[in-house]
Symmetry: C2
Subunit: 208 residues, 2 copies
DNA sequence: CGCAGCGTTGAACGCTTGTTCAACGCTGTG
DNA sequence: CACAGCGTTGAACAAGCGTTCAACGCTGCG
């Protein structure tokens, strides 16, 4: 009986979100047409309005879905008892993996500002929560001396930028797997690029 | 006599590009209307077509202009005789400055893919040239042992992502000046975040 | 079999937006 | 003063797109 059944309504909604996310990434919110989103699923555009009130709601649901996934990840990482650098590394690895393999390479990249204020505010609040969580980890690393001193807000923005930007150049058919990209980014963003020139270690390093 | 003269044609074109760049950044290429671009300059949209053949050409000119500026910067940095880490630092500082203070915070961020193939290819070729130049500097630093070994392509993408992403959160009225942002980014992206745990400096050159 | 309702269709509408174009004012020149 | 031409206007057009809606088929239930 189960196989005879067509896709359940909830699944269908997710299909639509995936198709929409891919279309929004390629063409932008305004550039992607409702018809384009529907055609990719071999349904008519009128049918989309059975599942969503309008195009804006689809965009909103895309962001909501991405944030569900990312905030769950953040909670996970926060809860594990490891050191800040391990947390940050794990966060970056998982973020890249989710972004490329689960979220159609479109998490926070698509035109937020296309949303009208009431919806926009809700998304921004959650995105800020993610940013704060990221900064907190960075701050802890700086406090512990594991990370070089600096402005955790700027570092957080830099990390988010580096990772989100992947969606602009990532090619699934390219030479780098999402796994390899994650490793390379974690190495650079956590481990640092410049080798400290025999830095006179500040007395008793808490690190290690 | 000179002041009586209205703006010369070439200046007017640049005004249009600035207005368009700002509009494209806020709403995206498809989201920004030609009328919106014109109104900001207190001209009618019909008038825009005296200066540009169509909307696409405006987008193209925006990218062309940004690339002119950035490639000139790259040449400059390449030519100075400093070490790779100094070059990278200078490149990031100047990039941030140009991006925020000169280019309406919209260099490579606006929908490239909205361009049709012939124009698109020309832009991509130049953008790739910039990427290659950046990677070359990074590679030199790795060869020299100044930078930790790694994949220069990935590091280059990470740097570009971090910097270009600034346009998504930058607020001219915010607490951080473009100068301060540049410094913070250069510190992190060049200097590295994690303190090397008393790494045994490999005495010898490139190796490893 | 008949009924109900979910999921779907496809045509139609109305609005927005990119683009065109004939006409106009202004300025400097002969 | 007449003329030429650059820069500008504003109305008009055509196409695309988001959205609506009445009608239809199918499936499972009574």
């Amino acid at each position: 009986m189960a196989p005879a059944q067509t896709l359940a309504s909830a699944d269908r909604r997710i299909d639509i979100l995936k198709s929409a996310a891919a279309a929004f990434r390629r063409r932008g919110y305004h550039g992607a047409s409702v018809d384009e989103i529907a055609s990719a699923l071999e349904m008519t555009k009128g049918n989309l309005y059975y599942y969503f009130r309008n195009k804006e709601e689809i965009l909103y649901a895309c962001h909501e879905y991405s944030l569900d996934v990312l905030l769950a990840l953040l909670d996970d990482v926060r809860a594990d008892g490891s050191t800040p650098d391990q947390k940050l590394r794990r966060l970056i690895l998982a973020f890249v993996h989710l972004l490329l393999d689960e979220l159609q390479a479109t998490a926070l990249t698509i035109d937020l500002q296309a949303l009208s204020p009431p919806l926009l505010d809700k998304i921004i609040a959650r995105r800020d929560a993610f940013d704060r969580g990221l900064r907190e980890i960075i701050q802890q690393g700086m406090d512990a001396g594991t990370f070089a001193a600096g402005n955790p807000k700027m570092v957080g923005f830099a990390v988010m930028g580096a990772v989100n930007w992947i969606t602009k150049w990532y090619d699934p058919a390219g030479p780098m797997t999402s796994e390899a990209i994650g490793q390379a980014f974690a190495d650079y963003l956590v481990g640092g690029l410049t080798r400290m020139p025999a830095l006179p270690t500040p007395t008793a390093p808490a690190a290690r």
